[in-house]
């Protein structure tokens, strides 16, 4: 698959501070997360790809072009910055129309795209209200809408869930997933929240201190474990008793039960125990490891992962 975005030996120094150090990776179609702590170099990488910063060395190409050399590539890019970027005294409809025009769309097309994009972002009813009165969640939606209004081939989202409450965060992640799944737009998603990246992205690039420490498919990091996860609607305690009676090691948390064992006899014991306890089964399957567990296992920070860099 052709790379939509590629970094090759990319470095960026601010005097004595190294923001990016010899970073190389490629991103193809799908949702890719750039994961890293604050100051890891995520925003710097995004700004270099957009041509807003010049790299100290190396190259960054997006859609096969270096943006610094061909600014018109930006007509096919969307960018959602981390920080505030919305004027307060303008309506969302007017703002998006203007942003579409600045991306190169003629006025009539820009107006139509603005209305459509606000509808997809769930702001159609609010489009003629000044944005100063919007909630944080609504502002985040306008921010992502302005990145999509000109139908880009790829959007770069810088910490899109920053400042959102859990419900707003969930809505934003759903909008990000929808942007790729339904709109067919590829996404580069920067975040320091592993759970957001794990739940939303197909691939991750992990940066720490300006260096690439991991990259690859999310599912390759969250491989199946030898634990079976079970979730039932009722009779949980009876099920635990029935499993323990069969000599199966079981632990429980608020989410469900975890049964240790890789061989198929474990599933037979679970089946029999479910029958005995008369527990309605909601969900069962091998448990996948969470990204957070990987980082916790390797230490309190990302440093333990430097061994696993993929070229």
């Amino acid at each position: 698959m052709e790379a939509l975005l590629a970094a090759e030996n990319l470095s960026k120094h601010y005097k004595d501070v190294v923001a990016l150090n010899d970073v190389s990776f490629e991103i193809s179609d799908g949702i890719t997360g750039i994961l890293g702590e604050n100051g890891a170099g995520k925003s710097t990488a995004i700004k270099i790809f957009l041509g807003l910063l010049q790299p100290t060395s190396g190259s960054a190409t997006i859609l096969g072009e270096n943006v610094s050399e061909n600014i018109l590539v930006r007509s096919r890019l969307g960018y959602m910055p981390e920080h505030d970027c919305l004027p307060s005294n303008v309506t969302a409809a007017e703002f998006l129309t203007h942003m579409a025009e600045v991306s190169g769309l003629p006025p009539a097309h820009a107006r139509s795209r603005a209305a459509d994009t606000l509808r997809h972002a769930g702001l159609f009813e609010e489009r003629y209200r000044s944005m100063g009165g919007y909630s944080t969640g609504m502002k985040q939606r306008v921010k992502i809408a302005q990145a999509l209004v000109h139908d880009p081939a790829i959007v770069l989202l810088d910490e899109p869930t920053a400042g959102l409450d859990p419900a707003g965060r969930e809505e934003m992640l759903e909008l990000v997933r929808k942007t790729h799944r339904e709109f067919g737009i590829s996404i580069l998603f920067s975040s320091h929240l592993m759970a957001d990246v794990e739940r939303t992205c197909d691939r991750i690039v992990v940066l720490q201190g300006g260096q690439l420490v991991q990259s690859g498919e999310v599912k390759s990091f969250t491989e199946e474990t030898e634990t079976v996860f079970i979730e039932v609607d009722s009779n949980r305690d009876e099920l635990v008793t029935a499993l323990e009676k069969r000599g199966v090691s079981v632990t429980a948390d608020v989410g469900g039960l975890y049964v240790e064992g890789s061989d198929e006899t474990v599933y037979d014991h679970v089946r029999d125990a479910l029958v005995e306890a008369e527990s309605p089964l909601r969900r069962m399957g091998p448990r996948r490891r969470a990204l957070t567990e990987i980082f916790e296992r390797e230490g309190d920070d990302f440093s333990g992962l430097t061994k696993g860099v993929e070229s």
Binding site: L53, L86, H98
Partner: protein, 316 residues
């Protein structure tokens, strides 16, 4: 993709059935229309600047200040036209000229302080909020450079200033022509005033636009920029006038050159080949025309260069 299952039909009576419509959720549509690149981006920033400056498409509060200033300037022109016209009609043809009543060559001098205050209040609105709210980050991530942005914004406000300086002069011309017993004769005799007030107006517009935009380019707070500019224009006049009169001689003349309000009015005087009422007694007016014009260009082009240089390197 059409999904009739998602249709929403109006719940109206038989009488309005003809007006009923059906809304379909056609899903996300990719855009395959024209993409006009950098020129469209520049034009859009330019148009947006016009709207911001004049409060168009904004609430009533945004319209009050610009249109109040335009109204005052038009009123000044109307009064000048009425006085001259009344003199000619009531006392006799040529009275206005004989009494040396203010005309086109005097208008910019008389109105200069209003023009400067208008620029000081309105121009920062084009630059300060974009940086304060972070909108500049979105502009620079599109097919638009920092240079494109600042040039488009400069031309926006320059266009507004042209409207503000030319409109009263056109009204004054119309009033003076209508006040003459033979309007066509008035236009034939005074047609040269038209290119002169257009040229002098363009000089004033370029000068005020550049200084106001430069100040706005260094702060994210519109109020700071406005207060600084008003102070600059208002304070330099009594300060330089007093000091120039005290010192006298060539030094006094040069001090008088730093009266920022008078710099474009001297160009107006050069164009009209007569001193306006405001600059007639300024020591700087005794300098050769080329010095006055060069001084004007220095005070316009150097700030423009600094402004351009600042935005050319701007990054989010």
């Amino acid at each position: 993709m059409t999904t009739p299952g998602n249709s929403v039909e109006g719940q109206r009576g038989e009488s309005s059935r003809a007006a009923e419509g059906t809304v379909f959720d056609i899903g996300y549509q990719h855009y395959d229309g024209p993409r006009e690149g950098r020129n469209r981006a520049r034009l859009s920033v330019f148009k947006d600047g016009l709207k911001v400056s004049l409060g168009l498409g904004r609430g009533p509060k945004s319209k009050i200040l610009p249109w109040m200033f335009i109204g005052v300037l038009v009123l000044v022109a109307l009064i000048m036209a009425l006085v001259a016209g009344a003199g000619d009609r009531l006392v006799g043809d040529g009275t206005a000229e004989a009494l040396d009543l203010p005309s086109h060559s005097d208008f910019y001098g008389i109105a200069s302080i209003i023009l400067f205050v208008f620029a000081a209040i309105s121009a920062p609105e084009l630059l300060c909020p974009d940086r304060r709210d972070g909108v500049i980050n979105l502009y620079l991530a599109r097919p638009l450079t920092g240079s494109d942005y600042i040039v488009a914004r400069w031309f926006s406000f320059f266009t507004v200033m042209l409207l503000v300086v030319w409109l009263p002069q056109i009204i004054l011309l119309t009033g003076l022509a209508m006040g003459d017993p033979k309007p066509s004769d008035y236009l034939t005799e005074n047609w040269l005033d038209i290119p002169r007030f257009l040229g002098a107006g363009a000089a004033i517009a370029a000068y005020t636009t550049t200084l106001a935009m430069l100040t706005a380019g260094f702060t994210t707070r519109r109020a700071y920029a406005s207060a600084f500019l008003v102070g600059l224009f208002v304070i330099t006049t009594p300060f330089t006038t007093g000091l120039a009169a005290e010192i006298g001689g060539t030094t006094g003349q040069w001090i008088s050159m730093f009266n920022l309000s008078n710099i474009p009015v001297h160009v107006n005087d050069v164009i009209f080949r007569e001193a306006s009422e405001v600059t007639a007694h300024a020591p700087a007016a005794n300098f050769d025309n080329w010095i006055l014009v060069s001084w004007f260009f220095a005070w316009t082009l150097v700030p423009a260069g600094i402004l351009w240089s600042r935005y050319r390197r701007l990054s989010p």
